[in-house]
C-alpha cells in the first residue's frame, strides 16, 4: 500500500534518455549542425555569448543545440563551462572609437563625422512573414556592394559622445575604480554600495528581458531620465594584451560588439553647470535591444551619485542587481519543483493546530 513516492537513479537516467530523444525530434528531419546555428541563428548565439559571459560562437551554438533552443538554458550551460576556465590574464581596455563599424546611428544629430550607417537591421523591415523563406532551396541573397569610386574605407568614426565631451556639454566618463582594480563579480560577491564597474558588469550579464522591462519603466515615468540615443554602434573591435616583456601591446583577436551611449538631461548642481550625462550599454555581437535597455538602467542606477531622488525600481541598485541574473532567478523560481515534503508537513501541522484552536474558541 505504501507506494514508492521517492524517485531514484533509474527515473533520472530514463528522463535523460527521453530528453535526448526530444532534443533530436523526428529523425527523418536532418539534424541541425553547429555551423548552421552559428550562421543562421546568429542573434541567438550573440545573446547566449553576452549573458553567458563568454565570447565563443561555436560553444554558444553548441549550447543552443543542446538546450533545444532554450536560450536561458544555453546561457546556463555556457556559464557553467566558463567558470571552469583558467584566467590567463587581462586585456587592455577595448577602444570602441577604433571599431570597424558595420552599423552606426545617432538619434541626436542628423549627420555626424563618419556618417550614419544603417547596416543589417530589422528597424525598417515590414514585419510580414516571408513565405519564400519557407521554401528550402533558395538563391543566396547578394549583399549590397559598397559604393565605388572615391569612397574610402571608413577609418575614422569618432564617437558622438567624444565630440560632445570635447565641447563640455556632456559629462566625461571618469575612472571610479581605485588604481587598477576593477570589480569582478565572478570572483567576489556583490556588495553594496556597488560601484559603477560592478554595476555595469552585472548589467552586461543580466537577463535581456528583465533589463528591457526595467529600462522601459524609466521611459514611462518610474525614474524618468530624458534619454536620447546619442549613438548606437556595432562592429568588430581589436582585443589587445600587454605582455610584461614587451614595450607595446599585441592584438590577440577581434570581438564583435554593440555599444549604446544614451545621453540624458541633467540639471546640474551647486558645483556643476547643467550638462548631459550618460548611460552605457554593451553587448557581444548584435545585441541592440540589450545594449539600449542596459544603458537606460545604468543611467537610472546613477541617480544617487548625481544627487537625484531614487525611488523607482530601476534606480534601486539592490533591487536591480540582485534580481537581474537569469541563472539565479531561473534556478530559484524553478527550485520550487524540488520536494518540500518536510517543510510542507511542518506547515500542515501548524495550520491544523490553528484551525483546531479557532474551532475550539468558537464553541
Amino acid at each position: 500500500m505504501y507506494v514508492a513516492v521517492k524517485g531514484g537513479e533509474r527515473a533520472i537516467a530514463a528522463a535523460h534518455r527521453l530528453l535526448a530523444d526530444e532534443r533530436r525530434g523526428d529523425p527523418s528531419v536532418p539534424e541541425l549542425s553547429i555551423a548552421q546555428i552559428e550562421q543562421q541563428m546568429s542573434l541567438a548565439v550573440d545573446r547566449v555569448m553576452s549573458e553567458g559571459a563568454l565570447y565563443d560562437r561555436e560553444l554558444a551554438a553548441l549550447a543552443i543545440k543542446q538546450a533545444r533552443g532554450d536560450l536561458v538554458e544555453a546561457i546556463f550551460l555556457l556559464r557553467a563551462y566558463r567558470t571552469t576556465l583558467p584566467r590567463l590574464g587581462h586585456t587592455l581596455p577595448i577602444d570602441t572609437g577604433r571599431m570597424a563599424v558595420r552599423r552606426r546611428i545617432s538619434a541626436t544629430f542628423k549627420d555626424v563625422p563618419g556618417g550614419q550607417i544603417l547596416g543589417p537591421t530589422f528597424d525598417y523591415t515590414h514585419r510580414l512573414l516571408d513565405f519564400t523563406l519557407a521554401a528550402e532551396e533558395q538563391a543566396t541573397p547578394q549583399p549590397p556592394q559598397p559604393p565605388t569610386g572615391d569612397a574610402e574605407p571608413i577609418t575614422s568614426m569618432p564617437r558622438v559622445t567624444d565630440i560632445m565631451t570635447a565641447e563640455g556639454i556632456l559629462a566625461p566618463e571618469t575612472d571610479s575604480s581605485e588604481g587598477n582594480s576593477i570589480a569582478d563579480l565572478t570572483r567576489e560577491p556583490l556588495a553594496f554600495p556597488a560601484d559603477r564597474d560592478a554595476r555595469l558588469q552585472a548589467l552586461a550579464r543580466a537577463d535581456e528581458g528583465f533589463l528591457l522591462g526595467l529600462g522601459y519603466s524609466t521611459q514611462r515615468g518610474y525614474g524618468r531620465s530624458h534619454p536620447f540615443a546619442g549613438e548606437v554602434r556595432m562592429g568588430a573591435v581589436a582585443v589587445e594584451i600587454q605582455p610584461e616583456e614587451l614595450p607595446f601591446p599585441i592584438e590577440i583577436g577581434d570581438v564583435e560588439l554593440t555599444e549604446c551611449q544614451m545621453i540624458n538631461q541633467y540639471k546640474g548642481s551647486a558645483e556643476t553647470l547643467p550638462q548631459f550625462t550618460r548611460g552605457y550599454g554593451l553587448a557581444f555581437g548584435q545585441g541592440e535591444r540589450k545594449a539600449m535597455a542596459m544603458a537606460l538602467v545604468d543611467r537610472a542606477l546613477r541617480a544617487a551619485e548625481l544627487g537625484e531622488s531614487a525611488d523607482s525600481p530601476a534606480q534601486d541598485a539592490e533591487f536591480v542587481l540582485y534580481h537581474c541574473d537569469n541563472l539565479e532567478a531561473s534556478g530559484f523560481v524553478q527550485h520550487l519543483k524540488l520536494p518540500h515534503y518536510v517543510d510542507f508537513q511542518a506547515e500542515l501541522g501548524t495550520l491544523r493546530a490553528l484551525r483546531a484552536a479557532r474551532r475550539e474558541a468558537a464553541e
Partner: protein, 294 residues
C-alpha cells in the same frame, strides 16, 4: 581533509579548481571563527541550477578528500531524486565512497533535515541554504540587514514572534525557525523543521551552511550553544504526532504524511529513510493504521 588535485573526466578532483577551494575554505574558517555570522564568498556557477544546492555542493567540494565517506539526503531521504543526483555528482567527480548510513559518513550533505541518529565528533553536516538571512522577510535590503547584525539590532525579530502570539496565540513558524548562536548572531537554520532545532545545540559535529545563489557561508562549530528564539511564557516547543511510523513504529522521529487514496486515507512514515530502515532491520515492525493512530 584536503582534496588532492587530479583530473576526473577532464575536471579537477571534486569539480572545483584548487584556488576556488582555497577561497571557500578561507570563508569556512572565518565562519567557524564567528559562529552564526554570514561570510560572503565568491560563489561559482555550478553545473546544476541555483536552488538545487549549489552552496552546499561548493562547501562539500571544498572540504571533501579521497578518504571521506559521503552521505547525501534531501527531505531526510537518501533516495530522493536530487539527493541521488548530488551523490552521483561526487561519485563521478571525486570518486569518493558513498553511504546511506549516518554513522558511516564523515561528510553528510543535507537539504531540509537533520538526521535522526545523533552525530559524533569529527563528522561534518553540510546544509543547503536557499535564503541565509534570518531578517530577510522583515527587511529586504542586504545593506540594512548587515547593519542590524553588526549592531545586534534584533528587536524586530522578537516583535514579529510576539505579533504571532498576540494574533494567533502561538508562534506559527514551523520550519527555518530562527536561532541565536553563541549568544550573538541570529541565524537561519535553513528550512529544517523546528523539530530539528534542538539537535543544533551543543552538537559534537561541525555544522556548515552554504548558500550558493546568495553567496554566503556560515557555521556552527562543535559544542556551540544554539538557542531557538522564544519567550519565557511561550517557550519553544517542537512538533509531535498522534501517529507512529507505519513502517517501523517509531514515535520519536519526524514523520511525512503520505496520502494513499482519493478518500483522504493517509499513513505516516519516517522522513529519515536510514533511521527507519535500520529500525526495521533490528526487528521493529510495521504498525497498521489503527494501532499507529493511538
Amino acid at each position: 581533509m584536503s582534496g588532492s588535485p587530479e583530473a576526473a573526466g577532464g575536471y579537477n578532483f571534486a569539480y572545483l579548481d584548487e584556488q576556488t577551494k582555497r577561497m571557500i575554505r578561507r570563508a569556512i574558517l572565518k565562519a567557524v571563527a564567528i559562529p552564526g555570522y554570514q561570510v560572503p564568498f565568491g560563489g561559482r556557477e555550478m553545473p546544476m541550477p541555483h536552488g538545487w544546492g549549489t552552496g552546499g555542493i561548493q562547501v562539500t567540494a571544498s572540504i571533501i578528500g579521497r578518504d571521506d565517506t559521503l552521505k547525501v539526503i534531501d527531505q531526510g531521504a537518501d533516495d530522493t531524486t536530487n539527493a541521488v543526483s548530488i551523490r552521483g555528482f561526487f561519485t563521478r567527480t571525486a570518486g569518493v565512497t558513498t553511504t546511506a548510513r549516518t554513522e558511516e559518513a564523515s561528510v553528510i550533505q543535507t537539504r531540509h533535515r537533520f538526521p535522526e541518529k545523533p552525530l559524533r565528533a569529527g563528522q561534518i553536516l553540510v546544509f543547503q541554504v536557499p535564503i541565509p538571512e534570518p531578517l530577510r522577510w522583515l527587511e529586504p535590503r542586504e545593506s540594512e540587514t548587515r547593519k542590524m547584525h553588526a549592531l545586534e539590532e534584533y528587536g524586530i525579530m522578537h516583535v514579529r514572534l510576539y505579533e504571532d502570539i498576540a494574533q494567533l496565540g502561538r508562534i506559527t513558524t514551523a520550519y527555518d525557525y530562527p536561532v541565536r548562536v553563541n549568544d550573538r548572531y541570529i541565524m537561519r537554520p535553513s528550512p529544517i523543521p523546528k523539530f530539528d532545532n534542538p539537535k543544533l545545540d551543543n552538537n559534537p559535529a561541525l555544522l556548515l551552511f552554504g548558500a550558493g545563489r546568495e553567496k554566503r557561508i556560515y557555521a556552527v562549530p562543535p559544542f556551540t550553544k544554539v538557542k531557538s528564539l522564544d519567550f519565557e511564557d511561550h517557550p519553544f516547543e517542537v512538533q509531535s504526532w498522534d501517529h507512529a511510523c507505519s513502517l517501523c513504529g517509531a514515535r520519536e522521529s519526524f514523520l511525512d504524511e503520505i496520502v494513499t487514496d482519493d478518500r483522504g486515507a493517509r499513513i505516516y512514515v519516517c522522513s529519515d529513510t536510514d533511521f527507519c530502515a535500520e529500525r526495521r532491520d533490528t526487528g521493529h515492525g510495521r504498525v497498521d493504521a489503527s494501532e499507529a493512530a493511538e
